[in-house]
């Protein structure tokens, strides 16, 4: 199950085996979360099986069949401004869109959570040093920062993902720092020290165990933001380059056709919307399910 795959390893090692089973059953009880998870799984399958599913090659155009409306024979979802099959391009587009939405988040989670937890647990000078540096990055609006970084590094998939990662690190670090600072002062940390737990045990089990859940859930909600930002970068010509199919880029190129064929032009946007809503609903459900008190 994908929840298990996503579980932070530090937790899995020390929890009773019953914990993740409990999370699973709590997720299964909530139809909205199950539906969101199903949509996510379907999207991932669609991306993986694109060559099998797509009726045509995504870059095969036809000058005489441009901007066909939805329902045209042979073009169930119409065609774009170069006469390429929209259905095929949307299916192939899932690959790059999901990649750019999903990859920056775990990387940023790793760095951001580490920075934030270290800052929160150490406190004092270390905290000030880390958090003020983070604040410098945080001061820029995320879109602006992503655009500036991508613009400087040049367009391309790797650079776009890198800049998105940099954008998310301060956000995750701030959440991690505030949660950790709160947990550090609680009685059970003192109690763990009083029972002889070593500092590393305290950080890895009692601090991580209590802060990873909230940080993890926050990070999950960033997946949709990442997708939208990635689409934005592609839209500005800083992410994926044509003729590769990516939803943000498709939205950009079809923008000129919005008066001719608005339904077709909106399709990539609809998919971005569905994907980000699914990720948000799922992360909301996960927040509830991971809390043993629920």
């Amino acid at each position: 199950m994908s929840v298990l795959a996503a579980s932070p390893p530090a937790l899995r090692a020390e929890r009773s085996p019953g914990y993740w089973r409990g999370v699973g059953s709590r997720i299964a009880r909530d139809p909205v979360v199950v539906a969101a998870l199903a949509v996510i799984v379907a999207l991932v399958l669609m991306a993986l099986l694109a060559p099998e599913l797509a009726p045509m090659a995504p870059d095969k155009g036809s000058m005489i069949r441009r901007l066909k409306p939805i329902g045209t024979p042979g073009y169930p979802l119409g065609s774009d401004e170069l006469g390429r099959d929209m259905l095929s391009r949307l299916i192939y587009g899932a690959r790059l869109s999901l990649l750019m939405g999903v990859v920056p988040v775990p990387v940023a989670f790793l760095f951001g959570a580490t920075l934030g937890i270290v800052a929160g647990y150490a406190g004092g000078l270390v905290n000030a040093l880390i958090m003020r540096t983070v604040d410098v990055f945080y001061a820029f609006p995320s879109v602006l920062l992503a655009v500036a970084l991508s613009g400087t590094l040049g367009s391309g998939l790797g650079n776009a993902m890198f800049s998105l990662t940099v954008v998310f690190i301060p956000q995750i670090a701030r959440v991690a720092e505030s949660v950790t600072t709160g947990v550090r002062k609680l009685d059970y940390i003192d109690a763990a020290r009083a029972s002889g737990a070593r500092p590393l045990t305290i950080v890895l089990e009692h601090v991580l165990g209590n802060v990873l859940g909230p940080i993890f859930v926050f990070a999950t909600s960033l997946v949709s933001v990442s997708m939208i930002l990635a689409s934005g970068l592609s839209f500005l010509g800083l992410g994926v380059r044509p003729p590769d199919a990516e939803w943000g880029l498709m939205l950009n190129t079809l923008r000129t056709a919005i008066y001719v064929n608005p339904a077709v032009a909106a399709l990539p946007g609809v998919l971005i919307l569905i994907t980000s809503v699914s990720f948000n609903l799922f992360s909301d459900g996960l927040r509830g399910a991971m809390d043993v008190r629920s």
Binding site: E14, R15, S16, G18, L186, D187, Y188, D190, A191, A192, R193, A194, S195, G196, A197, R198, P199, T201, E205, H206, G209, N210, G213, V292, R293
Partner: protein
């Protein structure tokens, strides 16, 4: 007999700069093996700070002076590694609010097993068996099922029992109890007190029991030390102190009990308010509130003495 706990001239000062706060000032206290001493006093009297000093649980900014020996070990001189081995193994502690002192995201069984494996090693299964055994000792019903409960799934009384089980998991010699019954309701309080007393006898533990409730002290303790503004003002056998308190503050505490109010509308109170620790008077810190105050009290801190040949009192006008 060598004492199990030997605290000499302990002082703890919080904060730096122009107004440091001396939370504990010159506390000397010794406990024999198997002895239960209650530290009695109001909020801010330094009783919890004294207790936490035994495990060196203070923030790094606190300045701690004096010596503490537990079972021959100089606690102040322990290296961080040796200190971690000492905590929970030689001295363990139970807290005021069990709901906050247990980690909410792990089951109780896992938390006890962690403590067991920390000090005694062994497999997960062995640690769990030990936890189950401890749960039976502290009389938690359907112990096996309770091990898999999270803290939020248990009542306060059960949690405090679990906390005691955890504290006893590595056969410590000393148990520190920081107002363990304050957060519980009255019927559960007495059960926990009886349990502590019983386990103390069974394991031969030395116990320091911090409380502000003289009734609780009478229930569990052999001896009592009354603290005021960071100093011990009276110390003696529990029966002696309750029957004939020598220090005016101890007398005030005894008179202020609800049970003595009878049919009256108002309780008897000690006039005035506890002093600001950062700005203590030069002499006896109880002097501003004391009815027996004399000139000497305002200039000199009265030393602990034994005018009756039993117990000790820090007062120029005892009785």
């Amino acid at each position: 007999m060598t004492p199990m706990i030997d605290i000499r001239d302990l002082s703890v000062v919080f904060g730096r700069g122009p107004k440091p706060v001396p939370a504990v000032d010159g506390v000397t206290l010794a406990l024999a093996p198997g002895e239960v001493v209650a530290l009695l006093g109001e909020s801010g009297s330094g009783k919890s700070v004294t207790l936490r000093s035994l495990l060196r649980l203070h923030p790094a900014s606190a300045r701690v002076g004096g010596t503490i020996r537990v079972d021959g070990t100089d606690v102040m001189a322990l290296s961080p590694r040796a200190l971690a081995d000492f905590r929970g193994r030689t001295v363990s502690m139970i807290f005021q609010e069990p709901r906050l002192a247990l980690d909410p995201v792990y089951t109780i069984g896992d938390q006890i097993a962690e403590a067991v494996r920390r000090h005694r090693g062994g497999t997960r299964a062995q640690a769990r068996a030990r936890a189950l055994d401890l749960f039976d000792r502290v009389r938690i019903p359907s112990a096996k099922r309770r091990l898999d409960n999270y803290p939020h799934e248990m009542s306060g009384g059960m949690l405090q029992r679990a906390m005691i089980a955890m504290a006893l998991s590595c056969d410590p010699k000393v148990l520190l109890a920081d107002e363990p019954t304050t957060a519980l309701d009255a019927t559960v309080q007495i059960q926990i007190l009886l349990l502590v007393r019983e386990l103390q006898r069974e394991y031969g533990l030395s116990v320091i029991f911090v409380t502000h409730d003289i009734g609780v002290a009478a229930e569990v303790a052999d001896r009592v030390a009354v603290m005021y503004a960071g100093r011990i003002v009276e110390e003696g056998a529990i029966a002696d102190v309750i029957r004939s308190p020598q220090h005016p503050y101890a007398r005030g505490l005894l008179d202020a009990r609800v049970e003595l109010a009878g049919g009256r509308d108002r309780l008897i109170t000690i006039p005035g308010a506890p002093p600001d620790l950062a700005d203590l008077p030069p002499g006896c810190s109880f002097a501003p509130r004391c009815a027996r105050v004399s000139g000497e009290c305002r200039t000199t801190v009265p030393p602990l003495a034994a005018p009756l040949g039993r117990g000790q009192v820090a007062c120029f006008h005892p009785g």
